[in-house]
Symmetry: C2
Subunit: 621 residues, 2 copies
């Protein structure tokens, strides 16, 4: 179906918005009146620019507080409308959104509203304009799309139809099935927005917290199905008021918005198994983590930590400054290529997928940016794409059971694979986003990469609350907690969690090799005793090994953390009896401990930063 | 009364919080359990540190989900409690907050809850601990403070009393007058929080949007009055869960919090005209703006703009690199002292007050930081203090009618005062804060400087929504719109608005002197015609003079803007027939135009920034 986006969704000037909408792939836009008023382009220039960009101007919006009024006010409102119709004629837009009256309605009557809309229809027809009447969720009298449709039917005027907005319908809990009873030719326009289920006043919810399809809690797939059964064939247009999207990069948000609409059409097409909807390639979700890549100018300190944790050095790449470590099937790639002045950072993630070519096609269909990995003819070629935060995601076809992928053979002069150790793989990779990237990231992982996004949580850090949204594959084999760092924190670290079957042994070996664990305060163990009534013997063992503990129904969770190196640290975990969480109750303790360590290290760095610092060419630590 | 603050209000480690609370002036703290658990100080060390800092540990909190449960759960809950009592004993805290059960209550009975609290009281007594039972606004069965008090009365145990939290009571709309019916000896603790009136679920409202007293919509003064009439003599403690305060500088937030509590006590003392409350100096609100100070390494470009606007150069300060311009009673001070690499910025504000010494005392009592203005013996000494965003605020006693303040005589080699011009003063000064400073700034202007804070608004900018809170003196003679810039925008400018009685003449003179007005798009005037049905003649005049227009009941508003110089620009306004706003509907047009100009200027600057740039020693523009 044709796609459109309201200019109010995006940041920047009207020109920026038009350029970005066209570049993202939209067929048209809704012109939000304040964007036109604030623009220094004349309506004729906007029209001609849209033409050059290949965009249609699908709707002019909004026209407010028209119907349900006294006669004298009606006359003034018709005058107001006529001035707008004149602007629309200059723009070449043929449909105007008329919202149900919020501010000035005093007459609660379908007949009066219908009569007044008929008068407006007459005036509109003279300008070749159509009226799309919409029930706002907070309209004074008309706040239900079924009533708006009834008034439109009563108005019985060819230039008067209705506009359906998923937010106004679903936020009120109105049954969208009634859409199928509206004659198709009377549905002049459709606006789509998702939203999280929030218990707050619907006006603030609508103005600040709308989301793109697939990011909230509304069943938009079902909504689109009703539209198609009703026979609607016009554009699907996004109208998303969101404080974050209004601030983020225009082109990027437009691409993100377009992705949501492509995904939604594909979802609806699958449910309906027909229809004029865009379909995209299907791809099964990942079945495992192939590798995690850490990049740095000098990866030495990271490798020292891996060594202390008990991973095995598997070799240096035969053509690139890249090294491989593994612990059982958990593989860490350490990359010093093009990494001048880069502190250790999680730079890439290899995912094992049932069909890499299919996943690559799906990502392409969703407008995800591909990445190219340099390789020689005799090396494995990995398909890949970029996540919104710049993480490189590579796709690897599943090798046989217990087999290693062929790219491992490109590493030389290392030790053989250690199959006896207790590491069983990468348990999860914790990624960190800014607030501006978060919604886009969640949609990316779910729509493009086949992850699920269960309910989010919040954990307290010394610098404020951290929003945490886990995305995981349906079978739980790949888990990515996505954290939104507090706005004030810089260099918030990410981490890689390795799963093992004997954490006591791993911790003891690491301690024996001199690893500096992230310290766990004594008070934590006292609290643990009070919360879980743990056996004193276990408590003592936990305390002396500096392990953290959590419980979840029958399941238990043991874990510990390394100190950070640059922007990365490691966690080792052991899940017992089906524990399914991430130790969220322990996160505040971990974050407070990291803040203490960071402060001590910062002080040490600063006191060392005299004129002689760096004289021995030592890297910053 | 004794003052206290819950550690959860502040960012940082437990040590940081304790240090900051003591430095701000609090008598004690509530220990928020997760802060202790995450700390590497033992309970004994916390106790001894508090002693050294002169802080009492007033409350241990929270203990959740205790009463209204089945017998087997009660046994487990008593075991949980006992472990906490042991920690409290080590801390030396004698009161624990027990919240009404949210998660595990299954028995809705006052008798059962009372019986279970009595059991808890017996256990507590053995540890010299008291139970302060609090009704959470979202408690499963107990969600009203009157029911909590009834249960406490039924429990009839010396170690069992109640805790009253203003948020839980006022958010539910419960009448706080019932507090006076609770026996004083049964009110074990009081927690205070303000909040904006929000229509949202009370749990999210409480966890994220609480504010310090004086910053929200609750009548905390009345609340405190009820407490005193009840005979309560314990501490007044702040418990404010707020996402922003959890992120901002610990010491600064503590000082801000303490200020709110001092202010609240003073307000309550005035209402009661008695009581054990802290009183502070009274001071009448400002009656005018004495001057606005702009600071820059080179103020030349700002002065050129003032000249084009028609202000008069009044002279150079006889001992400092400071220059004075005036237009009628509007005085601008241009300061190049200690301004290396400073772009033009609003740095100071002189306020005319009825009694400068009284205002200075009040600010001092509220812990506001004073500033010192260098002066010689024969120069005026201005008292002053710092606003939260670093603005220097100076206080000047009102001179006689039409007289200029004596400090004006320190300026030499300028022109005499022009009394014939149409400028009538500074209309308003628009200041910009980050989101982190905003609540503190509003409290500062209202509590310390005698301003009112009417309802806030939001305006759309190309970079996102701008929150705007006007503070104004009760008579409207001093007005300061405080804007919160979108998080992504840098160098968001501030402006000074001058009022005149003939804006057409001022605009025409400025145009004649070659001033570059901020351009107003043509579409704006088309929209104005549609919105207000303006007379075509007036519309043409507005368009050709590039003036903006607004209407407000009978009143009309004419205004225009200069381009920005550094972080400052100017507005000229004329209010007609009692117009009382700031042209908020025009703000999006202004912001979009500024963004266009900024972009052009940035491009020009960048293309000029070749190797030869700066070769002639021209300042950055």
């Amino acid at each position: 179906m044709r796609t459109s986006i309201a200019t109010v969704c995006l940041s920047g000037s009207l020109e920026d918005k038009m350029t970005a909408a066209a570049a993202a792939g939209f067929d048209g836009i809704e012109v939000f009146e304040p964007d036109l008023v604030a623009s220094d382009l004349s309506p004729e220039e906007v029209r001609s620019r849209a033409g050059r960009l290949g965009l249609t101007l699908d709707l002019y919006q909004p026209f407010r507080d028209f119907e349900g009024v006294t006669d004298d006010l009606l006359a003034a409102n018709l005058r107001r409308a006529e001035a707008r119709f004149a602007v629309m004629q200059r723009l070449g837009v043929d449909t105007v959104l008329v919202c149900s009256n919020v501010g000035t309605a005093t007459v609660d009557s379908d007949d009066v509203s219908a009569h007044q809309l008929r008068r407006l229809g007459d005036l509109a027809a003279a300008y070749d304009v159509r009226i799309a009447f919409e029930a706002l969720a907070w309209g004074r009298f008309v706040d239900d799309y079924r009533r708006a449709a009834r008034i439109v039917a009563l108005a019985d005027h060819p230039a008067v139809g209705t506009c359906l907005d998923s937010f106004h319908i679903l936020s009120r809990g109105h049954d969208p099935a009634g859409i199928e009873e509206i004659p198709a030719e009377k549905i002049f326009f459709v606006q789509l927005a998702d939203a999280p289920r929030l218990a707050m006043d619907v006006l603030s919810w609508s103005r600040h917290h709308r989301l793109f399809p697939g990011e909230g809690d509304f069943d938009l797939t079902g909504f689109v199905a009703h539209l198609l059964r009703a026979g609607y064939a016009g554009p699907l247009s996004l109208e998303v008021f969101n404080d974050t999207f209004r601030q983020t990069d225009t082109a990027r948000t437009a691409a993100h918005a377009f992705r949501s609409l492509v995904w939604l059409q594909d979802q609806a097409a699958r449910r309906l198994d027909a229809g004029p909807l865009t379909r995209i390639a299907e791809a099964a979700p990942p079945v495992g983590v192939d590798f995690v890549e850490v990049k740095a100018e000098d990866t030495g300190e990271v490798e020292a930590t891996l060594d202390q944790l008990g991973l095995t050095f598997r070799g240096q790449h035969r053509t690139k400054p890249v090294r491989l470590w593994s612990g059982g099937p958990a593989r860490m790639v350490l990359n010093e290529q093009h990494a001048r002045e880069v502190e250790p950072v999680v730079a890439g993630l290899g995912l094992v997928v049932p069909d890499a070519a299919a996943t690559e096609r799906r990502a392409h269909d969703l407008g995800v940016q591909p990445v190219h990995r340099r390789s020689q003819v005799d090396e494995a070629r990995l398909a890949g794409f970029l996540a919104p935060d710049g993480l490189e995601v590579y796709l690897v076809d599943a090798p046989g059971p217990d087999a290693e992928p062929t790219w491992v053979e490109e590493f030389e002069h290392g030790l053989p694979r250690d199959t006896a150790d207790s590491f069983t793989g990468v348990d999860h990779v914790n990624l960190v986003h800014s607030w501006a990237e978060h919604d886009e990231a969640v949609l990316f992982w779910t729509a493009a990469a086949g992850f699920d996004a269960p309910a989010a949580t919040q954990v307290a850090s010394p610098q404020g609350l951290v929003r945490s949204q886990v995305v995981r594959t349906p079978d739980g084999r790949v888990r990515l907690p996505l954290n939104v760092a507090p706005a004030v924190s810089r260099d918030y670290p990410e981490h890689v969690a390795l799963h093992c079957t004997d954490i006591w042994a791993v911790a003891s070996r690491a301690a024996g090799r001199g690893m500096a664990f992230l310290p766990v305060p004594d008070n934590y163990y006292d609290d643990l005793a009070a919360r879980f009534g743990l056996d004193p013997g276990l408590l003592d063992r936990l305390r002396s090994a500096q392990l953290l503990y959590d419980r979840d129904g029958a399941g238990e969770f043991l874990h510990f953390y390394t100190r950070r190196v640059g922007r990365v640290f490691f966690e080792v975990v052991q899940r017992l009896d089906g524990y399914d969480g991430y130790g969220a109750d322990n996160a505040p303790v971990r974050l407070a401990s990291q803040a203490r360590v960071d402060r001590v290290e910062r002080t040490a760095r600063e006191s060392a930063a005299g004129p002689a610092a760096g004289a021995r060419g030592r890297p910053r630590t």
